[in-house]
Structure formats: structure tokens, C-alpha cells
Amino acid sequence: MIEIVDTGPLNTIQDLGRPGYRDIGVTVSGAMDPLALTIANLLVGNDAGAAAVELQTFPVRIRFQQRTAFAVTGGGSAMLDGETLPPWWMQIAAAGQILEILPSKTSARAYVAFEGGVDVAPVMGSRSTSLRGAFGGNDGSALRKGDVLQLGSPASGVFPAGGFGVVPPLREMASLFPKAENGALLIRALPAGEHDLFGADAERFWAEDWKISAQSDRTGYRLSGNPIRLTEPVEMRSHGIVAGVVQVPPGGEPIVQMSDANTAGGYPKIAGIIEADLWRLGQARIGTRLRFVRASHAEARMLDQAIAAYIGDVEITARQVGRALKAMAGR
């Protein structure tokens, strides 16, 4: 068991989400940075999609009630009883130790996975919290001070006593995720249904920088910049949407739907962000400048494969290194 000693608002239990129920209006939810959640789980020997804790407001303090292997990935700067942990790191906490997580300057969200996973009841196949639907996770609520969370049975993982980490994805795959010369985050997207109805404004959409406004959360990011508008109004019928869709309401400032995206939408949509870049947007803090880059299906596929290879590499190597260190410690 772990106890939430301190937490900011809107920190939740998440896994890889609840896909498959959009057709009854159920939001997918799940981690805003599914790559970080996956790696945190693999570091403690869990399945990639085990439930972990997503932190977006800090500081957070968690007390371990028994010896527990845990991992912290994504943003956040972690300390175990005052000892600073490197980023993207797993370690074993002794009973009574306190993990403290503070915000990081570069990334918005931290993920803490625990050996065995957070054991809350799955709802419609997922342990993700749906705050809007008030179900999943910890009874549909954000984490509160004093919450005690059960952990699942450990998968008898082999953990080196000194802990270990992984090279973060942006360092390992730096060449695949370039930044603009002015520092803006480059986010690759495909034109969506109403793209061409924006006329010349569509070109400005790709050419100009956008800023993530303060009206941004797990549901969606509202971007600020020079408004873009349809050349003439068009009738829209409600349709299913996925996270990453970039819609343009009448005001002209785009909205990007994120993990808690509505399942249906009716605003004209100018673009759809490829999933290989969506996790980076999930880690972008309010105020971040970004620029959209037109991508192709082939590029999206190549990036998906590169990310899958990184995940596979972490999974296999982490297991081998764990065994090797354990064997060495035993002789």
C-alpha cells in the first residue's frame, strides 16, 4: 500500500486508457504521456498498461507502507527521503520511506509506477480516472491527501538493489524529434476534413507559432495566436473524434483535444496530430510555443515504429540487466 501524504489538485490514477467505448460516449482518458507511463511500468516489471499515478500539480509526497519497487518518469524531479533520483529511474523504497516529487522546468507531467500496479477496480476494461464521468481510478476522483492505494501482486520482478534508469526518449531519439530554430515545439499533423475551407488561413495555421494558453487541461489545449477562420461558414454534423484533433471554434483560436477529449465534436477541424508527437504535447507546459508541421502517413508510421523499438529495447534490456546485477550481487 502507498499513502498520498500530500498532493496538488487534478492528480489522477491513469493507465493507457479506455478505448473502445467512444460509440457510447465514453472518453478514452489515459495518460497524457503514454510513453512515459509505459516506460515507468516496464522499469518495475509491470505490463506496459498497468495503472500508475499521473502528477501534474506539485509537490506530491507518497509514503510507502512496505518495501516497494517504484519508477518515476516523464517530468518531475523526485527525491526518496531526501536523496535526489535521476530522471526516468526505478528504485526500491523501504517501508516508511517518503517519495517527494517536485515540478520539472521542462515537462508538465510525472508518472509514478509501482511494482504490481495501482490496484483499483477496472471500469470498462481500464483503471483510468474519468473525472468528467466520475468513474474509474480512485472512485472517479482525483487523488486527495490521505488516500491509501492498494498495489497489485508483484510480478516477481528482479530488481537491482541500487536501482537503475533509462535514457529518456527525447535523448535516445533526439534526431526524430527536432525543435524549431526559435525553440518552438514542432508538432507533426495531417490536414483534417475542413482544412481546405480555411483558404489562405490554412497556410498561416502551419506557418505561424501558437502558444498553449492557460485554458488548457487534460481535456484539451486552447491555443492562442492570430485567429484563423473559414472562408465561409459550413454546416457541421456531430462526428466521432480522437485525441489530437485540432478544431477551430468561431473565435479562430484552435483547440487540440487531449486524453480526456470529448468523444464527439462539431467544430470545423483543420488538422489531426500524429500520435508519435501527441505525448510530447502532453508534456508541454502552459505557455509553450509550438508550430505545426505537415506530415504524412508514412512519416507517422516510421515514428510509431521507432517508438515501439525504443520501448521493446527498454523492456528486454531492463530485464537482462536486472538479472545480471542480481546474479552478481549473489556471488
Binding site: E232, M236, H239, I255
Partner: protein, 231 residues
């Protein structure tokens, strides 16, 4: 952002062929050609049943005369996906889903009917007449979406059509019986809502713990029973 906002509604987009567009790299949206009517929706239901069987499709989301198909992985050949969808649309025969009939007792008027007066003004009918037209209608669940278990109901008397609000109500109670454009429905979540409320229903529409979480399904028939009228 609780319901789709169509404040730009002006020029209806009528095509003869379906339009297929991408949302990101592994979702494709097919918009049916023609009017927003039951015939088009029946063909969307048929298309949904076909596409759902495709081994590379992970999710199908029927909307208002459209279908979103989400694929398991980014397709190697997106053009072939588009032709498969067009082909499936051409073959899709209108199906009539034999849905169940759901009777929803409604308390018309009262504290929850925050937009009844505005609707009366808009359609120049008395509140009694508005309520009568609403509960005498027979509605078809076109699709679910927007919020867990929320059914978009088709069949609203044209005299009761009322555009969605440009500024949504900040807190509308779950259970409010609402009108949005040419559709009606029952709010399933308490929160911001752009539809217009004329009454209240107590019937639970969604239970996440149930084997079938949503009360409504596409093709179901819905009737509103005036349990109480408070004007």
C-alpha cells in the same frame, strides 16, 4: 465543450458522394452524402456493422450521418483504406435496427426548464403546446456520443428546432431534457451544456458498472411520458 456546437450552421453541405478525411494518422471519417435523415443514418449503421468486422479496425464511432473508423496502426497504404471505405459505403444496404423502446418519464417545466420560455418565444407557441409537441413525438436514437450514454435523438417536430446556445449554461443538471438544433436528448452529466432545457427526467442513462453501461443504443425508439407538467 460538452456538446458539439454548430453556431456556424448556415450552408448545408449536400454531396452526392461520401467524403473521407483523416483525423490524425490512424482515424478516418466518412461523411455520408445527402440529407441529415433516417435513411442516411440507417446506411451508416449498416456501414458500421461492416467496418467493425475488419481485422485492422479497433474502433468504430457512428455519428450524425457519418462514421469514424479508428485503425489499430497507421495504415501502410492510406489510399487503399479510403477505397475500402468507399467500397463498403457503396455496398452498405440500409438496415433497420430492431431497437428496443424506451419510455422516459419527464417532469416538464419547473426549475430545470431554464430555456422553456426562450423556446416559446422562438417558436411562438405556448408552453403547453411546446410540451405537447415534445411528448407526442416518437424519437430514434441516431447515435451515442459526447458524454457517457448520451443519445442524439432524431424526430423532433420542426417547430421545436432551437439552435444551441453560443454561450453554454455553466452548470446544467444531469437529467435535464434538452433540445439542440433539430435534436433532443437527456443530459447525462452535470456541467456546462449548450442545449436548451425544457424539463427533467430521473431515469439513469448510464451505469459504468453494468454489463451494458448505456441505456440507449443506436436504433432504439424513445418516447417521453409527461409524468408531471409544471407551467
Amino acid at each position: 465543450m460538452s456538446h458539439a456546437v454548430r453556431s456556424l450552421a448556415s450552408r448545408p453541405l449536400i454531396r452526392s458522394r461520401p467524403k473521407i478525411s483523416a483525423i490524425g494518422a490512424r482515424a478516418f471519417l466518412l461523411d455520408a452524402p445527402g440529407e441529415f435523415d433516417l435513411a442516411a443514418q440507417r446506411r451508416i449503421w449498416a456501414l458500421t456493422q461492416t467496418v467493425r468486422q475488419w481485422p485492422d479496425v479497433i474502433e468504430t464511432v457512428p455519428g450524425m450521418t457519418n462514421l469514424l473508423a479508428v485503425f489499430k496502426a497507421v495504415p501502410e497504404d492510406p489510399d487503399s483504406v479510403i477505397s475500402r471505405l468507399l467500397d463498403a459505403w457503396e455496398r452498405a444496404e440500409s438496415i433497420d435496427i430492431k431497437g428496443k423502446t424506451i419510455d422516459i418519464p419527464v417532469h416538464y417545466g419547473g426549475a430545470h426548464a431554464t430555456d422553456l420560455a426562450a423556446l416559446c418565444d422562438l417558436c411562438s407557441l405556448s408552453d403547453r403546446e411546446v410540451v405537447r409537441l415534445h411528448h407526442q413525438g416518437t424519437y430514434t436514437v441516431f447515435a451515442l456520443g459526447s458524454a457517457p450514454g448520451f443519445g442524439y435523438l432524431h424526430g423532433l417536430d420542426p417547430r421545436l428546432h432551437m439552435p444551441r446556445k453560443t454561450v453554454p449554461s455553466l452548470r446544467m443538471e444531469k437529467g435535464c431534457v434538452t433540445i439542440g438544433g433539430m435534436q433532443t436528448g437527456v443530459a447525462v452529466l452535470t456541467g456546462p451544456n449548450g442545449w436548451n432545457s425544457i424539463g427533467f427526467a430521473d431515469l439513469p442513462m448510464f451505469d459504468p458498472a453494468a454489463e451494458v453501461p448505456a441505456l440507449m443504443a443506436p436504433g432504439d425508439i424513445v418516447r417521453f411520458l409527461p409524468e408531471r407538467i409544471e407551467l
